[in-house]
Symmetry: C2
Subunit: 142 residues, 2 copies
DNA sequence: ACTTTATTGTTCATAGTTGAACATTATTGG
DNA sequence: CCAATAATGTTCAACTATGAACAATAAAGT
């Protein structure tokens, strides 16, 4: 199953190349599309990556004119993120590609199953995130 | 869903640390466990990684006494891979950890669903591998 | 037999991700 | 008010994975 995800990432990467972006950029764009005004830290948490990663990617996307980073008025530490018009356009194109790929993947799976699976996945995510805080010896006890 | 896989990899990595190995090593061990005598190239294909990757990891595992690499008699290019006794022991422990993790993940999902999902995943994999050979303009035609 | 093409494994330069250390700013406790 | 603690974003060194270039060997075409 991990293999399938790996392959899907590769396929996605290959098709996103037409737009000159990569999966990490898409992740960022999509999240900003829905949660405009989010901070770098919040974005990193949503994507499950380190904030240093954001510090590498975001300035580069800003230079490319896809996003904007404006300092928060109340808290001078945080930078709030916004899509530019160009960024929004690109995001829509990229999401088209992505959904096309997903459709192709799931074409022969009934819809209810997909939804069931995603709810399972979400539960798994919350479960794992909880574990992350407790190093849990329970598995290696004996 | 990609996030769930990512998190599962991280959890697995954290628990495998007790055995001083990482997910890539586990992948190798498990595959050798079932397909002893495989070549480096075949192993790389199964794991969907480049063969250069194998050239990095395998010598290191050989030095650690987990595997053995013996040259094929008929074809002097290939190195065939075998688990040592220590490697087999370690593999069993690691698989225990892995299956425990998976069980915890899927504890609240009915078994038939899991199986359905894996068959879907396998179909997806073969589908994507086929795509890989045809760059397919079909998605970006318009 | 011999040239060409393909395959296997290795090496190396490259790119992506991470965690630790740091500076800056907020928050909390005395 | 001030010290201690925490949070945000940046930088940097380390690690991983990759693809291209390469040497050795095999297979195919002539």
């Amino acid at each position: 199953m991990a293999r399938a995800c790996q392959l899907m990432q590769q396929s996605l990467a290959r098709e996103l190349a037409y737009l000159d972006i990569k999966p990490p950029h898409l992740d960022i764009l999509v999240n900003l599309f829905r949660f405009e005004g989010i901070s770098q830290q919040e974005l990193a948490r949503k994507l499950l990556v380190g904030r240093s990663n954001m510090s590498m990617l975001l300035p580069q996307m800003e230079k490319r004119g896809l996003i904007e980073r404006r300092g928060d008025k109340q808290d001078k530490r945080v930078l709030r993120l916004y899509l530019t018009e160009a960024g929004r356009r690109l995001t829509r194109e990229a999401m088209t590609i992505q959904t096309a790929l997903i459709d192709r993947m799931m074409s022969d799976a009934p819809i209810e199953e997909c939804e069931l699976m995603t709810t399972h996945m979400e539960r798994v995510i919350t479960l794992l995130l909880k574990d992350e805080r407790e190093p849990l010896e329970t598995v290696v006890d004996q």
